[in-house]
Amino acid sequence: MHVQPKIVVIGGSWGGVKASLQLLEDLPANYSLPVVLVLHRLRNQEGQLQELFDLKLRLKAVEIEDKDILQSGYLYLAPPNYHVLLENDQSFALDDSELENYSRPAIDVTFKSAADVYGDQVIGIVLSGASEDGSSGLNYIFGKGGTVIVQEPREAEIETMPLAAIKATPGCRVMRLTEIKAFLQSLHVN
């Protein structure tokens, strides 16, 4: 790979919690890229996800607060009822505008914003889910030269989201979780 990635953004819905836990479990506590995870959640459901991820992972898991600065070694979880945007100064901006793809947070919103800020230095990953959210965002990342990965649909708990993403971006890499995991580990620089 020629460009050094700066950020990993992951989207998932139904089955996405399990898949992302599996994907991220072995990443070291000082993993060199910030990881942003957008999962569709039930409305008005509070923090439990953050606790779960923080417990199971070596990365420090936090629920994003407005204006938080992106740091390596962190897993940033999109909070319920807010879209997550990124600013040029590597901070987060939250937004409570209209739902997209029936969702807030919407994966597309964060994928597009990351691609606007980081161009080809984004790694976008779409995991299991019963929604088409993420596919247009993934395509947008692809259009700006970023790396786009989709979980192998046959392995996903629900294949709808991976299939939609593959359809929108036939040039994406389709990989099993273990392969994506190895890829993410290969990006770690000490």
Partner: protein, 276 residues
């Protein structure tokens, strides 16, 4: 690397922001850029405009078009009893203290179309405080203020509002607060009898009164750190000592210069109390 076309777009937006200020007086220079870019692109998409130059033409020749743009760039999305736990906490932790005052003044800043205002009024009514409370409901956007004054909301939101009302400690039949009419509901206008509505721009206008409670929820997220600081200072100047400030679920005082003079009353629900 960020694409040069995106860099150019963003530079052009800076020019546009200056021009809007010169021609219309609205100052967006302190707004969080990520959201501004997204809203402008969204608006252009709706109007089928490809470039900022194509947007500029109608924007500066047609004030109705600009009104439209303003609607779109300032996000107005809201709902009744949004974050029910916030309203429950107001009811349990703040209103009992406010009830010790003979006369209560509240500022609902960035009230949008009024769902938050009516939620608050219902709470005050149920706690027996409404008739000695005056609420100032303000927003930058005149159009949403007009809607707020009318108190007419889409009937399709009622199931969610009803659920949120009970989660916020609601004690009555929720339907006793409104009458239904062809897909809309109109809330009892007595709820807003003591409310004054007027335009106030948090980015440029100053403090205009003293309050026991200020609500400003999901407005600060659209501002840069600097503008957030300006607005929080404005609130600080507008609160009586021991007054309360309620922010949105993901907004905080912690990073701000005024935080030393505030105690969290409810950390999760972002309710703070001024010390002196």
């Amino acid at each position: 690397m960020k694409l040069s076309s995106d860099v150019l777009f963003e530079q052009d937006v800076e020019v546009l922001i200056k021009e809007i200020k010169e021609q219309y007086g609205y100052d967006f220079s302190g707004y969080a850029r990520a959201s501004v870019y997204r809203r402008i692109k969204r608006f252009m998409g709706q109007k089928n405009l490809q470039t900022l130059d194509e947007l500029r033409e109608p924007l500066f020749s047609d004030s109705f078009f600009f009104e439209n743009f303003l609607q779109e760039v300032t996000v107005n999305v809201t709902e009744m009893f949004r974050d029910p736990s916030f309203f429950l906490s107001l009811r349990q932790n703040v209103l009992p203290i406010l009830s010790t005052y003979p006369y209560i003044k509240i500022w609902d800043a960035g009230c949008s179309t009024g769902e938050e205002l009516f939620s608050l009024a219902i709470l005050l009514h149920e706690e027996g405080l409404l008739n000695r409370t005056k609420i100032y409901a303000t927003d930058i956007n005149q159009k949403v203020l007009k809607q707020a004054r009318e108190g007419i909301f889409p009937a399709k939101n009622i199931p969610a509002s009803t659920k949120a009302y009970y989660a916020a400690g609601g004690k009555r039949e929720f339907s006793s607060y409104y009458t239904s009419n062809y897909g809309s509901v109109k809330f009892n206008s007595e709820l807003v009898q003591n409310v004054v509505f007027y335009p106030h721009n948090l980015a440029t206008d100053s403090s205009f009164n003293e309050f026991h409670l200020i609500l400003c929820r999901n407005v600060l997220i659209y501002f840069s750190r600097n503008l957030q600081e300006r607005v929080l200072t404005l609130f600080d100047e507008s609160l009586v000592s021991l007054g309360y400030l309620g922010l949105g679920k993901k907004e905080t005082l912690v990073m701000s210069g005024i935080s030393a003079n505030y105690n969290p009353v409810d950390k999760v629900n972002r309710i703070y109390r001024k010390l002196n």
